[in-house]
């Protein structure tokens, strides 16, 4: 083992030790808690599944993080905290050994063992399971993609139980942020005996056995999922809420109405266009924290018109993000002039130098770029978006910017969401609405949007030098060096103008004043119910 690696490993080991002490829910001293610790939180949509192997959305993940606990977890400040693993160490660049706590139990009282993780991970990535996001997470584990692709059997996956309390994980390459990866619900343990017994019905109330802070009490499809405190949970003493009802209300107006009539304590998200009015009405209940998400327009870099970098740059330069943010969307989303959003780990934010120019100068430069590229005023561009009022408003604004400042005509193509994403993935577009939200906090998830050949790269751009920098960055064990390389890579690739970054997502929502434990600075917008508590009111 080389010296810098050894140093880094000792830092990590220390960090793991420090985490162990910081696990309890942080309730400020002197806080008076309500006698009844029950909460209703709207989760936005019906979960597609409660089986950790099949979940793909944030909504389902949020419930499953309450029901199941992985090796690690993330708290309401988005800090990594120990879960079933009480400690871990990295033994070489790609090998990690996790020590599981003996007090970790399933809700039926049986011990959670390393074999439960081995079984769960193999099942998740097994082609027979056909998990939709198998490749998203399989990529991190040794032989993960070979298993997903059916080239190797699941038994070849880089995970093994050394003994019931010790799990060894081998990664495909260095994954310095592995602690965040294994905190997602998809990497939680699964109870093999229960799954074998009930098959698909193992996730139903009465059948499900889970190891998280909560157990499943009731599940009414398209209505609600009710969970209750799990007395077998190893940290049950620090779990305040005894019962949580997850609503599945998609309609933001219905969500608001439930909030106003006192049947919902925690909104999923307010409807577009009402942020300022609701903020004035509920100044102390409105929260609007930045999210690790980017709103952008994908540019098809293989399109005959857009393959010219000058055209792509001109289109990006003339969109006034300040007006977009303050007048069009008007819901507190910060303007964006680079790939990385505020709060994203392992990368610095970059900003185009022209972002600070006066608009006249930007327009003059953009017109010159178009003239140099031989694009005449009156040229048509096609903009594709999915039919929601929010996206439509943004699209009309962008089209008007291109028309008034560059003389370009925009043909608007409003599609259903499924049709839009299919067209985007197939490269059947010129300019298309896009949005991206990180499932855990690391720059890698954003960089996949612009990496050569990435499945997430609908722009179809490729900058080999940037890719090399990313690869080099991911080999670093020193976080500072990694961050410097990834920042450099992002700047380099964004100077090719593969896409038009517009805004950073925020989550405007109303929360009742008696809900404690919400930290709106948590950019992942993931909140375990065990971190909430009800104040006396």
């Amino acid at each position: 083992m080389n010296t810098p690696l050894a140093r880094a490993l000792s830092v990590l080991a220390l960090a793991a030790g420090a985490f162990a002490a910081a696990q309890a829910a942080t309730i400020p001293p002197g806080t008076q808690l309500a006698a009844r610790q029950e909460m209703v939180r709207n989760n936005g949509a019906e979960p597609e599944s409660l089986d950790p192997a099949y979940i793909e959305t944030v909504n389902a993940g949020e419930i499953d993080r309450d029901l199941f606990e992985g090796l690690t977890s993330t708290d309401h400040h988005d800090n990594v905290v120990p879960g079933v693993a009480e400690s871990w160490k990295q033994t070489d660049a790609t090998t990690w050994v996790f020590k599981l706590r003996k007090t970790a139990l399933w809700s039926n009282g049986q011990h959670v063992t390393a074999d439960d993780f081995v079984y769960a991970w193999r099942r998740f990535l097994d082609p027979k399971t056909a998990a939709k996001i198998a490749s998203t997470y399989g990529v991190y584990l040794l032989n993960g993609m070979d298993v997903v692709n059916g080239r190797k059997p699941p038994t070849e996956l880089g995970v093994r139980a050394i003994d019931p309390q010790t799990l060894e994980v081998k990664t495909a390459g260095p994954v310095p942020y592995l602690m965040r990866v294994v905190s997602v619900a998809q990497y939680a343990p699964q109870p093999k005996a229960v799954i074998d017994k009930f098959g698909r019905d193992w996730t139903k109330p009465g059948n499900m056995v889970s190891n998280g802070a909560y157990v499943l009490k009731d599940w009414q499809v398209n209505s609600k999922v009710v969970i209750e405190k799990n007395p077998q949970y190893w940290d049950a003493a620090n779990v305040q809420l005894t019962r949580v009802t997850y609503l599945c209300v998609e309609d933001s107006n219905a969500d608001l109405k439930l909030y106003q009539s006192g049947e919902n304590d925690f909104m999923s998200q307010i409807a577009p266009g009402v942020y300022n009015a609701l903020k004035a009405q509920y100044p102390t209940e409105m929260h609007n924290g930045p999210m690790l998400g980017i709103r952008f327009y994908a540019l098809n870099n293989e399109d005959p018109l857009l393959k010219d970098i000058r055209v792509r740059k001109a289109l990006s330069m003339v969109i006034d993000r300040d007006i977009l943010a303050s007048k069009v969307t008007a819901d507190g989303q910060p303007p964006l002039y680079g790939l990385a959003v505020k709060g994203l780990a392992s990368i610095g934010q970059s900003r185009y130098d022209w972002a600070d120019w006066p608009m006249d100068k930007r327009v003059a430069e953009a017109r010159k770029l178009l003239a140099d590229a031989g694009v005449k005023p009156g040229t048509h561009v096609k903009f594709t978006y999915n039919n929601s009022d929010y996206h439509k408003k943004m699209a009309i604004f962008a089209a008007s910017e291109w028309k008034t400042k560059l003389g370009l005509e925009t043909d608007m193509d409003s599609l259903e969401f499924k049709v839009l994403v299919r067209k985007r993935h197939d490269g059947d577009f010129q300019i298309a609405r896009h949005g991206w939200i990180a499932t855990f906090n690391d720059a890698t998830l954003f960089l996949t949007l612009v990496q050569c050949g990435s499945e997430s790269n609908d722009n179809r751009n490729c900058n080999k030098k940037a890719d090399e920098l990313i690869a080099q960055g991911n080999l670093q064990t020193d976080p500072a060096k990694r961050e410097a390389l990834l920042t450099q890579a992002a700047k380099l690739v964004m100077d090719d103008y593969p896409m038009i970054p517009l805004l950073q997502y925020t989550v405007p929502r109303l929360i009742k004043p008696w809900i404690g434990g919400y930290d709106e600075a948590n950019g992942t917008d993931r909140y375990r119910s065990k971190d909430f508590y009800i104040l006396k009111h």
Partner: protein
């Protein structure tokens, strides 16, 4: 008559088959598929998913496989709701929709007929105008306007009832959605009943009955009501079916886990099996309701014989 019923039921089979076939083809030729998401599903995973749902087979084979399961009463696995079969989903949502829609329909029918009678008998009186005003308001205001007004008044301004949600058929969650659907339907039924009764009351046989000195109550109840109900009955069938479609708005607004929500989500998620399952269900319900309407015709009008 029983032969007629059996014949009508047998006709259901080719009707359902035709509807399923058309819907099957439409769904499969609609752009965008069940596995299209913001984050592209990798080719290997897509292949696994297609194999799991038999989408890797030729379309005709998929179709035959589907028909085979349908014959066994199996509506297949849902694409969107991974932990549930379509049978499970329908079995849970149908009672909810029936409870809301059926109750609303029954109240609307009784209330609508009663109001129609009052309006017809007191033609051009204050009672008539009041009923007609209610009927016109109910017809003009769409459910997405009437719904929020009800919630604003009875859930937020006067916090008597929950503004939405569902709790295992608890009546307090059902009152507002039932009231909304009732208001919409009572307007139509009341209007038709009024017009129909006025027309019947001016018929020769009614004039004869009155000339014989029968009291008005007897004339209406014994002679006028049955023929006047014919147009009402003919509209109740389509109204009941359209209650399912109007439930799309109502259920979404009140967050009720019924069929309407499944239809919306199924279509936008390209949940082929779920949409087909619901189409089969609605088709069968439509055929049966029409049959019931036709049988009621025969009961109401002695001239009609099957």
């Amino acid at each position: 008559m029983w032969a007629y019923v059996v014949r009508r039921l047998l006709v259901t089979i080719p009707t359902v088959l035709a509807v399923v076939t058309i819907c099957y083809l439409l769904l499969h030729f609609t752009p965008g598929g069940p596995f299209d998401t913001e984050r592209k599903v990798s080719d290997a995973v897509l292949a696994n998913l297609q194999a799991k749902y038999h989408l890797d087979q030729p379309l005709w084979k998929q179709y035959l496989l589907y028909l085979g399961s349908l014959l066994h009463g199996d509506l297949g696995a849902s694409f969107r709701y991974a932990d549930w079969s379509v049978n499970d989903l329908v079995a849970r949502a149908l009672p909810v929709s029936l409870a809301i829609g059926g109750t609303a329909m029954a109240i609307a029918a009784i209330l609508g007929v009663a109001l129609g009678i009052v309006a017809a008998l007191r033609q051009n009186s204050v009672a008539d105008y009041a009923v007609m005003l209610l009927a016109n308001v109910g017809s003009v205001l769409p459910s997405f306007v009437l719904g929020p007004v009800l919630v604003l008044v009875f859930a937020i301004a006067l916090p008597w009832l929950p503004s939405g949600g569902w709790d295992d058929f608890a009546p307090r969650y059902m009152i507002l959605p039932i009231a909304l659907l009732t208001l919409i339907n009572v307007a139509t039924i009341g209007r038709i009943m009024r017009g129909s009764l006025i027309e019947v009351l001016s018929s020769n046989f009614i004039r004869t009955a009155r000339a014989k000195g029968l009291p008005m109550r007897v004339v209406v109840m014994r002679h006028a009501l049955r023929p006047a109900l014919l147009p009402v009955v003919s509209v109740i069938g389509p109204l009941a079916i359209s209650s399912i479609t109007s439930a799309i708005v109502t259920e979404s607004w009140f967050s009720i886990p019924g069929l309407g929500k499944l239809i919306v989500n199924g279509a936008s998620d390209r949940d082929y099996t779920l949409v087909l399952g619901l189409v089969v269900l609605v088709t069968v319900m439509a055929v049966l309701l029409n049959l019931v309407v036709d049988l009621m015709y025969a009961w109401l009008d002695p001239k009609i014989r099957y």
